[in-house]
């Protein structure tokens, strides 16, 4: 089992959700956890104005997705995220990254089930 953590542009969330719905078994009810983070990378931050003065905000708002999946689904999931999150046609700086972390155990609180079937 793996925990897949992806950092994407907020505006691509819609497309990623659609792509995920296509590859994961549960259809539209696939499981995911989402939060909002600030990212810093190669992408330039925003410039805001305050009474005629430019204020450079180094960090950019990003959306972070966390999906825990069984090994068989890892590549499918990565591919779906990539497909949805990439800016057409060739990708752009700031499109984000996908990180894969090993996952040792999963427990479904409702039933107490563990492992692959609980995921």
């Amino acid at each position: 089992m793996k925990m897949i953590i992806a950092i994407i542009r907020p505006e691509r969330l819609e497309a990623v959700e659609e792509a995920l719905g296509g590859v994961l078994d549960e259809g539209d009810n696939y499981r995911i956890t989402i939060d909002t983070v600030e990212g810093r990378g190669r992408q330039e931050g925003e410039v805001e104005l305050f009474r005629g003065q430019e204020v450079h905000v180094r960090n950019v708002q990003k959306t972070r997705l966390t999906l825990c999946v069984n090994d068989a689904y890892v590549e499918k999931t990565i591919a779906a995220i990539q497909k949805g999150a990439r800016t057409e046609p060739n990708g752009a700086v700031g499109d984000g990254k996908i990180f894969v972390v090993p996952l040792e155990e999963v427990v479904r609180i409702r039933t107490g089930e563990r492992g692959g079937s609980a995921i």
């Binding site: 805001e48 104005l49 305050f50 009474r51 005629g52 003065q53 430019e54 204020v55 450079h56 905000v57 180094r58």
Partner: protein, 400 residues
């Protein structure tokens, strides 16, 4: 007139929102309180001694005093004020609102770093030693500037120049915020700032139209003129600031629009009942252009006028006072009609206000620096004063 007083009172929450929206979240409450608290401390000071000092029997044109006015105890509640036909108490209250809003304006320059309790003491002392005399000079029938013919319809000199220059002096004495220019300091809630600007505009009608009562009663033609010039100047100023920004950065900010409104309102304050609507529009537009560049100065010179109390109120006030001498047509004529004498008088008023308020603030702040300390501790500044000084946070959006 009572309605006008109520409107002016609403400027205090308006100012609190205007300023409160511009600081960082960690200081939103302390910044708002710096306005609200003036309602409490100056509210009490004015009834106790402020009114007596500003509008009591003139002692040689320099200060007022009447023991009977202390605590307003000697005012017969039915007695009309001079020949204006309104009860004196109404006049006391109307003037009291000006006394409250003025020190609150100063707080914009020192936001996010001045020690709160020192601010409180400063406020009371400044109101007593700087505001009351100046108000007496300019507005009391025997005030020495009034008798010299200086025009200040609704407080351009007494309110805005005095507050603006004092703000500058305090900002310089305090030094910049620890992360000024280093970090990206952004307004926590521009919605508040816009709302505040709206309330300020609304309240300003009370400020300017209400001041017409000093000229006539029942309010009529002059009040109508003051209302019209106020509206016209603010509209033109908002538009001018927007165009300025569009030209300078290619964007039109909401803070800019709001700042333009305020700059225009400030500039027209001394002129409201003295100039024509079109002149008011010119004044408003000029005020926006000049204030816009004045605001940029702080980056040049490195002082930290956090929310531009000097850049907008000080500079706008000076400009407005001088332009009043240019555009006025009633009751006296200005430069436009070929008469330069009123401009000279206006310059005198401006000069006196700058020197007196600036010097007074310097003295008061020097004493306070030695005794109480002007500045919040570094930890307070880092974490924000809301938590340290008030034991509160502005927003708790994460509670379940």
């Amino acid at each position: 007139m009572l309605t006008s007083s109520a409107l002016v009172l609403l400027m205090v929450p308006g100012l609190a929102l205007f300023y409160g929206g511009m600081v960082r979240r960690k200081n939103v409450l302390t910044t708002m309180m710096m306005s609200f608290v003036a309602m409490a401390v100056i509210g009490v000071q004015w009834v106790l001694v402020g009114y007596a000092l500003a509008f009591g029997t003139s002692q040689g044109g320099f200060i007022g005093w009447d023991a009977a006015l202390v605590g307003l105890s000697g005012i017969d509640m039915a007695k009309p004020y001079s020949d204006k036909g309104i009860p004196e108490l109404v006049f006391v209250m109307f003037q009291g609102k000006f006394a409250i809003i003025t020190p609150a304006l100063i707080s914009g320059a020192i936001a996010e770093r001045m020690r709160f309790r020192t601010y409180l003491v400063f406020t009371v002392v400044w109101a007593t030693l700087v505001y009351c005399p100046l108000a007496h000079w300019v507005w009391a029938a025997d005030g020495w500037l009034f008798t010299r013919g200086v025009l200040d319809f609704a407080g351009g000199t007494v309110v805005h120049i005095a507050a603006g220059v004092s703000a500058l002096v305090l900002a310089v004495m305090l030094g910049p915020r620890r992360d000024f220019k280093r970090a990206a300091i952004l307004p926590n809630n521009l919605v508040l700032t816009l709302t505040g600007a709206g309330l300020l505009w609304f309240g300003w009608f009370g400020f300017n139209a209400g001041s017409a009562v000093a000229v006539e009663h029942p309010a009529g033609a002059t009040a109508g003129l003051a209302f019209t010039t106020t509206q016209s100047a603010a509209a033109a100023a908002g538009l001018a600031w927007m165009l300025m920004e569009r030209w300078h950065h290619g964007k039109v900010t909401s803070l800019g629009l709001a700042s333009g409104f305020v700059a225009g309102l400030v500039a027209v304050t001394p002129a409201a009942g003295h100039v024509r609507p079109v002149s008011a529009m010119v004044m408003g537009a000029l005020a926006s252009v000049v204030c816009y560049w004045a605001v940029q100065l702080k980056n040049r010179f490195g002082y930290d006028d956090s929310l531009d109390a000097f850049g907008v109120h000080g500079v706008g006030g000076i400009l407005g006072a001088l332009l009043t001498g240019v555009f006025c047509f009633t009751p006296v004529q200005g430069v436009l009609a070929g008469d330069f004498s009123q401009l000279g008088k206006q310059a005198l008023g401006v000069g006196v206000a700058l020197v007196f308020a600036g010097g007074g603030t310097f003295l008061i702040a020097t004493v306070l620096k030695k005794t109480m300390g002007l500045r919040a501790t570094e930890q307070e500044e880092r974490d924000g004063q809301d938590l340290h000084v008030h034991g509160e946070r502005g927003y708790h959006f994460d509670q379940t």
